[in-house]
């Protein structure tokens, strides 16, 4: 979920922007010029994948896949997500300029966390990798939901109920993302294992 312009307090906006700058700097440092086409084309594919609407009962939820992005890119996921969010703000006016930092942290911090938290599990063959892939997709969404809630609550106590609803709304997305990430992981492992080499590095 994107937080809109004009909602968060200056302190939260500044904090988010600061963290996003640091994360982006680390990501850019780890990405050499030769990797730019690979990262950019992958990030374009992720952008398009987020246009897929998955039916859950009566509503359609769009895919986020930030867990998978972390899995494939590690720290480089931060600039890739920043660019994707920037393009969403430009093309659809979703999110925005002043909240770009906060929204980047909301999506990218869980991606990087999941990369380090689950890559050990994903390296192992059989069931552990399957469990790891599901956990990676689900945890990334859960953490994103919690970060949205945190950004809202630190803006003002008045947002407490809104924040609770936001976290609740993330629970179905979490399960769907877990399942989808799991199937994508198994598919890539079978079809193009070299795409997953980041987790073995």
């Amino acid at each position: 979920m994107h937080i809109s312009e004009g909602v968060l307090s200056p302190a939260v906006l500044a904090g988010g922007a600061g963290l996003a700058v640091v994360g982006t700097a680390i990501g850019l440092k780890k990405m050499d010029y030769e990797a730019i086409p690979r990262v950019a084309i992958l990030s374009a594919a992720f952008f398009v994948a987020s246009l897929i609407h998955v039916p859950v009962g009566p509503v359609g939820l769009h895919l986020v896949l930030n867990g998978l992005m972390g899995l494939l890119l590690g720290w480089v996921a931060v600039p890739a997500i920043l660019i994707a969010l920037f393009l969403q703000a430009l093309l659809f006016q979703f999110g925005g300029l002043t909240v770009l930092g906060v929204n980047t942290v909301i999506m990218a911090a869980p991606a990087v966390f999941c990369f380090y938290a689950f890559r050990g599990l994903l390296r192992r063959p059989g069931t552990p990798a399957t469990v790891g892939a599901f956990a990676c997709g689900a945890t990334a969404i859960l953490l994103s939901g919690l970060l949205v809630a945190l950004a809202l609550i630190t803006t003002g106590q008045a947002f407490l109920q809104v924040a609770k609803l936001v976290v609740l709304a993330h629970i179905p997305i979490m399960i769907i993302e877990g399942i989808i990430t799991l199937f994508i992981f198994l598919f890539l492992k079978k079809v193009r294992p070299e795409m997953l080499e980041g987790i073995y590095a």
Binding site: Y33, A45, F46, G96
Partner: protein, 258 residues
């Protein structure tokens, strides 16, 4: 039809013809200022300023309104919850629900702020084609790698959208009907995975093609930005307006009061 478009980028209005660098700087300052503003007077004045820019851009009104409605979904959600949960004096009751005056005032402020910023961004930033914007950001000294990443990502968005449509069509031809079941989720996962695999292969080919053409880590742009008199006017009118907004919000800074 493609979902990824730049509906506002084309045009020959005054706002379209301004130097993108000037527009980026003014829009960024405006957005930052309004995001920090806490008073109705400043936010309303900001909204007026944004509307002036929107008039200058002469965009199709229907499209702008339609876009604003979609973008306000988070704000609608806030209206459903915030007035009912904000502590303060109760002004309206419906069964167990009670809206407070402070809640309504606060949610109203957020709504105006949010829309003022979005309107300004539509008028000033969405009127720049993304490619031009990438080059403008580069001349504004953003990291090279980040600008390249932006340009490259944008370049391949359309390619993968077409790829995506092709795959969806192939699924439909084979009688795929989405529903709430594991088969649907698996099919969509394979669809996304196939997109990623195609992107990986294409990235390889693109990079090899770049090496063949002597790529050495820099892009050379044939485009040069030229500063014209209108850009000077735009800055000369916009920057004082922003200063006035800041003055309205905070008054004179201490060191100027004397």
């Amino acid at each position: 039809m493609s979902a990824i478009q730049e509906p506002f980028a084309e045009g020959a209005s005054a706002a379209h013809r301004l130097d993108p660098r000037a527009k980026v700087v003014v829009a960024a300052l405006f957005a930052a200022l309004l995001a920090v503003a806490q008073t109705y007077a400043v936010v309303l004045a900001g909204l007026a300023l944004a509307l002036i820019w929107l008039v200058l851009a002469r965009l199709p009104l229907k499209k702008v309104v339609a876009r604003l409605l979609v973008v306000n979904s988070f704000i609608f959600f806030l209206w459903l919850v915030l007035p009912l949960t904000y502590p303060g004096q109760v002004v309206w009751r419906l069964g167990p629900l009670a809206a407070t005056r402070e809640g309504l005032v606060y949610t109203g402020l957020i709504t105006l702020k949010s829309n003022a910023i979005i309107i300004a961004l539509i008028a000033l930033i969405a009127t720049i084609p993304v490619i031009t914007l990438g080059q403008a950001l580069q001349t504004l000294r953003l990291p090279d790698k980040l600008c390249h990443l932006l340009l490259f990502t944008y370049r391949y968005l359309h390619v993968f959208e077409q790829e995506f449509q092709r795959l969806v069509q192939a699924m439909k031809i084979r009688g795929f009907k989405p529903g709430t079941n594991l088969h649907t989720y698996r099919s969509y996962a394979y669809l996304a995975a196939m997109l990623l695999v195609h992107s990986y292969d294409r990235a390889d080919r693109v990079f090899q093609a770049m090496l063949c053409r002597g790529f050495r880590g820099t892009f050379y742009s044939l485009r040069t930005f030229s500063w014209r008199r209108q850009d000077g006017f735009f800055l000369a009118l916009s920057l004082p307006a922003l200063v006035a907004l800041a003055y309205l919000e905070w008054g004179f800074p201490a060191f100027l009061r004397g």
